[in-house]
Symmetry: C2
Subunit: 322 residues, 2 copies
């Protein structure tokens, strides 16, 4: 029996989104050696999806070594349950019900498979390879179409008793506030701080202020990108859209800090392209809602990871974190 050369060991990282699935072969240094993607929504049956994934991945696996070089597969997916290896009732995926995803993957690939939700995977990626290297307590917030989160406390992901911890996007920041388009809850963080929430805020505000530059766009072109364009041209209403969003986000972050007292909060996802338009009000409203013992201690930073690779790195990190 020969010793294993760690530098040659790799993992397969898979990030499953509602539309696209990305995958990559990653080594211990967090280098993505090879990558590819396929359409998630082209497969009505999960078994067909896994077969197609195998067809895509197998040539890369052959290129980078035999099975014995692969430590395992890590998967980030919406509504993934770490303890059970299942994907449960995911509204944005084509496969309904409770799917024993890890088991199906292992049967096909003959490799151990660990899954967790996409934001948890991103948090692990940041801890091993990104801006949170060396940190034992931080919170990752992903601001995309929705708002996701991963919480690291004392060096470990918080999974909760049932594997579903860290749904910070669904915490209520304004009781009785804006109704969420899919959950029906009132005043959740996601209803304000996601790209979808920003679009809603922008449409409301441009209706109130006819002089806003935002009114130069047709209704279906109002989104966080066009709001950013107007903000860059100093449209005060567009700037106010981000300020309001940052206020709601900052108020929520203050509550999160008083829960787990993290060293840093990492922000990630499309919404952070708005830069200081959103970061400054977020920081202001976080600080003003904190108890004095927490003030000016929490770093509020944007993710360092390349967005295209982050999800794959995060998923692969699951393999080595176990």
């Amino acid at each position: 029996m020969s010793l294993i050369d760690l530098s040659k060991q790799v993992a397969l990282g898979v990030d499953i989104g509602g539309t696209n699935t990305k995958f990559g072969i990653v080594n211990h240094r967090g280098e993505v050696l090879d990558k590819g993607n396929l359409k998630t929504d082209a497969y009505d049956k999960v078994e067909d999806f896994i077969d197609a994934l195998y067809e895509h991945v197998y040539p890369l696996m052959e290129k980078h070594g035999t099975e014995k070089h692969f430590d395992g597969i890590g998967v980030g997916a919406p509504n993934a349950n770490y303890y059970k290896g299942t994907i449960e009732l995911a509204p944005n995926l084509p496969w309904k019900g409770v799917i024993p995803f890890a088991e199906l993957m292992t049967a096909k690939f003959n490799l151990p498979c660990t899954i967790t939700n996409d934001a948890n995977a991103a948090a692990l990626g940041e801890m091993l390879f990104g801006a949170a290297r060396g940190m034992k307590d931080f919170i990752m917030i992903t601001l995309g179409t929705g708002v996701g989160s991963g919480i690291i406390a004392n060096g470990n992901l918080i999974y909760g008793h049932d594997g579903f911890a860290g749904e910070l996007g669904h915490t209520i920041v304004k009781p009785g506030g804006r109704k969420h388009w899919s959950t029906g809850s009132e005043g959740s963080l996601e209803a304000y701080a996601s790209a979808t929430g920003i679009t809603i805020t922008a449409k409301k505000m441009r209706a109130e202020f006819p002089e806003s530059m935002l009114n130069q766009y047709p209704e279906d072109e109002i989104n966080s990108k066009t709001v950013y364009e107007c903000a860059m041209k100093e449209d005060p209403i567009a700037i106010e859209v981000f300020r309001y969003t940052g206020q709601k986000l900052g108020e929520a972050l203050a509550n999160f800090v008083m829960f787990s007292s993290p060293q840093a909060i990492l922000l990630f996802g499309g919404v952070i392209k708005a830069g200081d338009f959103i970061l400054k009000p977020t920081k202001l409203h976080m600080e003003r809602n904190l108890l004095p013992i927490f003030r000016n201690k929490v770093q509020l930073v944007f993710s360092e990871l390349d967005e295209a690779d982050a999800a794959i790195l995060g998923a692969s990190a699951l393999v080595w974190e176990k």
Copy 2:
């Protein structure tokens, strides 16, 4: 060198409150073998307090064995920092500034000393000896003059990067809401769900409703106890005071559940004497603010520990938890 007989090993648990300090000698089974107390606020200097504590404790230590039977000292105190062993800027204690409390204790008693905030100690006590035996994920909420909390995730207390995690009483449940009498924050959980908050709510409501039984008491007798008396006599305004309090508490608990997905939330402290008047609305508003994946899964229970012993048990648990 002889083997140590675990059944004979004991710990000293100390619970420091603003007015009184309780202490006890506790064995591995969570039995309080002996206990006592002294006035915290009778000692302007922390060194004098520790000398007095030693005078009180020493006779009990002699009775229950020599130093070699004592595994250590555990202390629960407001604003105690687990990592540094300090008590920092505690507004309700007579000793100002940053006090190296654990170090001073060790110098006097010649025993290792671990300290944490009182609600964290209570959470440990529940995990080792109380209603949370065998649980790895739960949240302890203490509803007394203030609102404290201790969070257990994956079997460990969450301390945060700086030792101050778990200040859930200061999370904001109603942005722009009731101003807190000492922190100045607006709409914190403590401003509504503490005994102090209930008194404020009761005074407001009785002024609005002259027919309420609450108006039969002089102003300085309005508190959670008299509100309870009126509620028991079916005064609808007194019942509404608890319903409103439970709503705010339930909304806050829903957010906590979506953070760490605990198996249970344990409630402890004077306020829980209101029983179902507060428990039912709390449960209702917690459930209605939860995402469906979390609903009807979290046990909401009152602490099982005897209130007089709980603080001592919790503090002593620190010694064995290390």
